[in-house]
């Protein structure tokens, strides 16, 4: 009986990243703005789970989440799927080359990921004739990087419960 409940518990918990992905994208909360602070939690979510437990967040779901974000935010369809998949790719690469994963390792490797993702984001929006607030983009990147450890702790607790 206890094994049965443990299995159910495990299955529900393993859906948390997926549910979070769709909740964040459908409610339009991919980017959280609080006064001066702006954090892209979708980037952190995709990076963390693609790095730690890729089977919990399928590539197809990441793609779908990106499309929903594009539609909700009114961006050219394909922008967010491309950026999120780039993040997932870098995370996958980091997973392949890293032996011991710690918060510091993750945090440091998240910086180039963020730069690459935002570079593509900027290029796509520029080519689609969207005017971009460069300061905002920079601010968003900086705060996403700064707040990464807080979200890392939250996701790590979930990961521990899944495992």
């Amino acid at each position: 009986m206890s094994i049965f409940f443990k299995n159910i518990n495990f299955r529900i918990l393993s859906l948390v990243p997926l549910l979070l992905l769709f909740f964040i994208t459908l409610t339009g909360n991919a980017v959280i703005n609080i006064n001066f602070i702006s954090i892209n939690i979708l980037y952190v979510l995709v990076y963390f789970w693609a790095l730690k437990l890729p089977e919990s967040l399928g590539n197809g779901y990441i793609f779908l989440g990106g499309i929903i974000t594009d539609v909700i935010f009114g961006l050219p369809i394909g922008t967010n799927p491309f950026t999120l998949l780039i993040i997932a790719s870098v995370a996958s690469y980091v997973r392949n080359v890293t032996v011991r994963i710690t918060l510091i390792n993750d945090w440091i490797s998240f910086l180039p990921t963020l730069i690459i993702a935002n570079f593509f984001y900027f290029i796509i929006l520029y080519l689609s004739d969207y005017q971009i607030d460069y300061i905002y983009l920079l601010k968003n990147s900086i705060f996403t990087f700064i707040f990464y450890p807080i979200l890392w702790v939250f996701f790590s607790i979930t990961l521990r419960l899944i495992k």
């Binding site: 089977e55 539609v71 909700i72 935010f73 050219p76 080359v97």
Partner: protein, 279 residues
Amino acid sequence: MDTGREDFGIAIRSAFLKKGTQQRFSLFALLILSVFLMFIEKIETKPLNVLRSIIKDGIYRSSTIVSAPAKGYKSLHSTAKSHFFLYEKNEKLTKEIKELKNIKYKNDFLVLENTQLRKLIDENASSLADLINARVMIDKQSPYLNSFIINSGSNKKIKNGMAVTHGKNFIGRIVDVNFFTSRVLLVSDLNSKIPVLVEPSGAQAILSGHNDKELTLDFLPKNHQVKNGDKVYTSGKEGIFSPGIPIGKVKMKLKKANVSLFSDLKQVTFINIDVGVKK
């Protein structure tokens, strides 16, 4: 050195091409698909537009459903909050009603006088605009596009470029029309440029958004007489919007003409769409 390069190649190949456990698609295939989607986004054909419209309508509806509990909590919170200040509010409103009544009497007289004067110069004094009402479905502001989704689309004959008002105040224009929904690009967005008229000086300018509360007046004439408190209206020059829709008032800051909007864009629930000019 060669081994290092090989390792790098293997890691890259593994990251992009290898499908992990329980992964149906490789990252590389999905990246290619994303690029393909971006390309077909530029193509305007009827079947593609219908498909886009169906997908967008579906996502907007799902978003409204998923966001419903949060919205419900928000409105419950504001209702509870307003109940605490009921007495104070009532007193304030009674006072305001008295003042407004006085203004109304004066206004009635002015309207009458205005109609008579217009008749004298043979001008049609009736309202020119044909308005459609709609409700805001999703007001989540994108970091790169200040816009919201409304619950009317091509089913109500809404078209791209139509002016959107909150009450009588201009707040934006339609930029994307689906069958049941449309996207309104707010006047505060970085991509918004509206031809306007500043009264009483009569100066023409372009009102530009900056993803901020305050907008700016660009391309004002060199020796303009624009000052603090001047009213800004649509000029109707581009031929899409009706002329004379109020937008906001001027706030001069270091010789720069800023404009603060009459409507608070965060408090918009119902809007009107100017679907054309009746003649």
